[in-house]
């Protein structure tokens, strides 16, 4: 127990240090380089400085804060789904839930733009939440029929493709002027986020994560198996509903603002479980939040800078790092390695 406590403390310290480094790097690296001294100046002046440094305040800072919050939310959402399906490769992107949200957001956006109105942040989240829940109910319907988890994941991927195809279709016929914007978003990017979006993002993700954290006790019982959880006094029906709603809300918030982002929901929890050597929700939920935040900051940094001034979609960068991790997990299970 003592050893474990030490391990957790040092793991959290490591995570926080990494996160801090990544935050600093994300602020200073880019088309305009800003030295640490200048950074402090910019932060103190709140963007009231000369034009070069304004970039940091008006573009980079909201973007990296969003990357942190949304990355964290995505990882927690993945962890909740993994608990629900008792499968470490479940995640909002893999199961097609992100794509469901993408479809409804795209449709709502197109409708709103056609009517000449801009969508509010809350409306975007609402639309995404509906899409998540629709895709989720498909996944649940399938999971009631097929007990095999690999098959369920394949079905999830197919749902994802269907939704993506429908989104592409809608985007193709959307108004020309808005296509560029919509196209960027549907590939996944943190670039569109401004200060005005942040209060809503922070409100939704932090509430979602906090509520998830409060569920960590029944979650730890549920991890053992349904009948054990029931025997320990967990109200199964209600608990399952809470898990589904929370994970959908979190991933919906991500999709609403940054589009679908692949593999973070699977890779980050896996890395955290390996780092902490435990799957206890009470540790994993904060750890996944920090880990997902770090993962997204790192990937967004690469997306922005690797081929600057051309920007990569965030999803392609997260896939480069996340997909190998998922493949590794699959192989490990297949060869009967430690599950």
């Amino acid at each position: 127990m003592e050893k474990q406590k030490k391990r957790c403390l040092s793991a959290f310290a490591l995570l926080l240090a990494l996160l801090f480094l990544l935050l600093a790097a994300n602020l200073s690296i880019g088309s305009i380089r800003v030295s640490p001294g200048e950074l402090l100046e910019v932060l103190r002046m709140r963007g009231e400085t000369e034009s070069a440094a304004r970039v940091v305040w008006t573009l980079r800072l909201p973007r990296l804060l969003a990357a942190c919050l949304l990355g964290g939310a995505l990882a927690v959402s993945g962890f909740l789904l993994q608990t629900f399906f008792a499968n470490p490769i479940a995640g909002p992107f893999v199961l097609g839930i992100s794509s469901g949200a993408k479809l409804t957001v795209a449709l709502t956006m197109i409708a709103a733009l056609a009517g000449g109105r801009a969508l509010s942040s809350a409306a975007m989240i609402g639309a995404a939440f509906c899409g998540s829940l629709i895709a989720m109910s498909f996944v649940l319907l399938i999971s009631a029929r097929v007990k095999n988890m690999s098959l369920l994941v394949v079905c999830g991927v197919m749902i994802g493709y269907l939704c993506s195809a429908a989104t592409e279709f809608a985007v193709t016929f959307a108004d020309d002027a808005n296509i560029v914007n919509l196209h960027n978003w549907s590939m996944g990017s943190f670039s569109g986020i401004r200060w005005a979006n942040l209060p809503v993002i922070a409100g939704v993700t932090l509430t979602g994560v906090l509520l998830s954290f409060l569920l960590s006790k029944p979650m730890s019982a549920y991890q053992l198996g349904e009948s054990y959880a029931q025997n320990m006094g967990v109200k199964l029906r209600r608990f399952r509903l809470e898990l589904i709603l929370l994970s959908s809300l979190l991933s919906a918030c991500v999709t609403a603002f940054a589009g679908p982002i692949s593999f973070v929901g699977v890779a980050a929890p896996h890395l955290m479980k390996s780092l902490f050597k435990t799957a206890k929700p009470i540790l994993m939920i904060p750890a996944c939040f920090l880990g997902g935040a770090g993962f997204c900051l790192f990937c967004d940094l690469l997306a922005r800078t690797l081929f600057a001034p051309t920007e990569l979609s965030i999803s392609s960068v997260t896939a480069v790092f996340g997909a190998p991790i998922v493949i590794g997990m699959l192989l490990q299970r297949k060869t009967g390695g430690k599950p």
Binding site: N87, P88, I89, S150, S216, K217, L224
Partner: protein
Amino acid sequence: MKEAILRTEDLAAGYGGRAVLRDVSFSVRPGEILTLIGPNGAGKSTLLKTIARQLEPIAGTILLDGETLSSMSESVLAKRLSILTTERLRAERMSCEEVVATGRYPYTGRLGILSGHDRAVVRETMALVRVSELREQSFEQISDGQRQRVMLARALCQEPEVLLLDEPTSFLDVRYKIEFLTTLKRLAREKNFAVVMSLHELDCAESISDFVLCIRGGAVDRVGKPEEIFRSAYLEELYGMEPGTYDAFFGTAGDQGFFRNQHCRFFPCHRDVPEREFNCLFCYCPLYALGDRCGGNFRYTGEGVKSCEDCSFPHRRENYEKLLRRWPEIAALAGRRDDGV
């Protein structure tokens, strides 16, 4: 005489409103062990699930210390009744001590953090069940026998008044079976909790039980002390055997993981057994208790008996003999994770 802690009155149990088992009335006192025996699909697990409140009773009542079970809140019930089922416990990256500590769940606060007292109970229970040396070991990596004992410690950490066990000795070899059941009996006496469990090993049932309840044909066929059930022509009658065959198989059955009736007219190869006779205890499918996880396709007969159609393991009737030979391998396979991928 002590008062009964668990009592059922005219209980009917089943799925989806259809009763598999009717008119079950029994009572157990603290410190006593009641064992359910009967053929495959007779409804032993269904009865246990109903008492654990995983299934709604179709009729009748279950009383825990005089109080109806259905009126209790989940959290109160969790402190009074614990289970050890055939459902495989998932323990991702958990040490044995952590698995045992989950039994303290009903006693912890909002976030499930263990108090000093909880930790003391965990340590004490692990010592009682003699698994203290496994504390730091990963639950996924210990032997089947150790795993069942850790699971027993987990269930006892809930400090139950009633402990329900569904086929707790499936997949244990003979040595572990005896060790497990002896520990259970000792603790039931020491800690004064009542035990209701299903067993398919008749010899074990005889030596461990205070009372035996025989289930046949959707009802309780007989309840009594083991000596009344086992030292009579009753078993022969229960399973429709010729008089005099009982003693012959009784002595040797212990060296198999399950019973076989050497005097069965279909022994050893169970080819040609008519389906309606396939629910004899001696045709016990060792994978039966795994339910959906047995790996093969099956359907339920009109009597609710699981009947194999095709099987990933050779335990079709015509392959019964092969199954006996492959037993250790199958037991190992059954220990694998079941969720594919």
